[in-house]
């Protein structure tokens, strides 16, 4: 963890409650994320981790609570505002654009930065053509960074699972986000793929200073790479602190022992 300096609070979640009918997915959750840190969210299945990310980037609307992003209050976050504000994410069940190539999937991540109007695009002239080339260069940097040059023209549906996860990350990185939300980026991967993915996450965090909020089940990974950890269980927060603090927390230990049999 060299070269990077943890900053102020960039994202602050206050008293978030979310329910689906009778299911209370999140109950009065508060925690914050500091600039440039890697913040993990852990917890047993169904604890509400994915729901938490969905609240942060406006896919779900919490019934109560508040999101404060860089000092700005968002009572009503929506996905578009979240994207504009510099939030990007990947999905637990890969959500790539199946009918498109790897390159097009990643290029789509640049859509907010592409400004040429439709008529110019249809004529493929001037700004539209320049823009397309400019963003292609940026996307190629990301492709190099994630070592997926060999598959850039492949339709994503034909890729093995591990590579699809990498393309999902590439598309999120194409947004040049300030905060990257990752939902189980290493689930279902073999050891080698996990190591690669860890390396990418650490590099993104280190080189671009991107703040990372990460959901992960692999405790080894979580304890290794994260600065601070939030623990959820049945929609409630039961722990929050450094990996060592969390590991020593009796509530956390019992939740995990309770969940493991």
């Amino acid at each position: 963890m060299t070269g990077r300096k943890i900053g102020e609070v960039i994202l602050d979640l206050k008293n978030i409650s979310l329910s689906f009918g009778g299911v209370k997915a999140l109950q009065d959750i508060s925690f914050n994320v500091l600039e440039h840190e890697i913040r993990a969210i852990i917890g047993p299945n169904g604890a509400g981790k994915s729901s938490m990310l969905n609240v942060i980037n406006g896919v779900y609307r919490p019934q109560e609570g508040e999101i404060i992003l860089r000092g700005e209050h968002f009572a009503n976050m929506n996905s578009y505002r979240a994207a504009k504000a510099g939030l990007a994410r990947t999905f637990q069940n890969i959500a790539l654009f199946k009918g498109m190539s790897v390159l097009d999937n990643i290029m789509t991540g640049r859509n907010l930065k592409m400004k040429a109007n439709m008529l110019l695009q249809a004529l493929w002239v001037g700004p539209a053509q320049r823009e397309e080339l400019e963003h292609r260069l940026k996307v190629e940097e990301i492709i190099d960074f994630l070592e997926i040059q060999h598959i850039r023209k492949t339709p994503v549906g034909r890729l093995p699972y591990g590579l699809q996860k990498r393309v999902d990350l590439a598309r999120a990185l194409a947004m040049e986000p300030q905060i990257l939300l990752l939902d189980e980026p290493m689930a279902g991967m073999n050891v080698e793929e996990k190591q690669d993915m860890c390396r990418f996450i650490l590099d993104v965090n280190d080189q671009f200073g991107t703040t990372v909020v990460l959901i992960e089940h692999d405790m080894g990974v979580v304890m290794d790479i994260s600065d601070r950890v939030v623990v959820l269980d049945y929609g409630k927060k039961i722990g929050d602190g450094t990996p060592d603090e969390v590991r020593a927390n009796p509530d956390v230990i019992s939740a995990y022992l309770g969940a493991s049999h």
Binding site: N57, F97, K98, G99, T108, N111, M118, A122, L133
Partner: protein, 358 residues
Amino acid sequence: MFYRENGQFKTSYKSDQQIFPIPQDRWAIVAIVALAFFAVPMMVDEYLFRAILIPFLILSLAALGVNILVGYCGQITLGAGAFMAVGAYAAYNFLIRVSGMPALGAILLGGLTAAAVGIVFGIPSLRVRGLYLAVATLAAQFFWDWAFLRVKWFTNDASSGSVSVADISVFGWTIDSPSDKYLFCLGILVIFSLMAKNMVRGSIGRQWMAIRDMDVAATVIGIRPMYAKLTAFAVSSFYVGVAGALWGFVHLGSWEPAAFSIDRSFQLLFMVIIGGMGAIAGSFFGAAFIVILPIFLNQLLPVIGGWFGLEVSIALVSHVEIMIFGALIAFFLIVEPHGIARLWSTGREKLRLWPFPH
């Protein structure tokens, strides 16, 4: 000369971003377009122009429009015929009501009117999808069928909505002979196809496809579904509307609302399914297929019937036609949702590697 990419490494992203990155493809397309412009008019007779080539060109344009909406943006429409009608009748009204209106201007304004109407009828797509959206677009079809039959203003008080347009002229070129009509439609189709290709390989096309493939992921990267869907409805309806205006002005000359009935809507949708959803070329394959098949069967079935001493009636031919369409649509929906265009490109991929199987 082999169909090969060997040795042709792209040295810049710019050359990689061309419409047809493989030079052989590029030359093939240029050759086909050149043939279509220069050789075809000298080779074919009037019947071929009227019965096959002109309808093929105009329906290709309409299918291209439907493909943008259905194939690229993943929406559904059963109202394409109505948007052709809106294009045709709007163009007609611009032509007769605005003094000095040039025909080409009227045709394009007809397309723009269809685009505006398309946006309105696309609004339900923001809330509903699939079957419900199909029903909403079907409502558009019934509404416009009714309007052009009953609202006299649209048809300049003509009885039963029948209107006619004299031969048009464009920049001093009077388009009256079949070969003129063919060249005019071909010119428009080439320009519109290039523009469609540019859109689908650009940012707006990626937004459409993103909405089609995974709308939650699309919104999370900042794509607004409303913008993506309504632009798809607008562009699609513009294409379909211009095709409708050409169908009226150039192909038919005089027409009534029945020319753009629900049958036309289904026909256009079938073209896209058979030809290939989400492929520009698919629109042409589909249109060619649907224009040629009936003529082909009309010639062939009586001959086959003759071998067995059977009398083949016209009714039988049209029944066989419907059965073949039904079977093909079921085949393509189940086995190859990307239609003839995909079969074509798979064949080409094999050719690229030929004679080595892998």
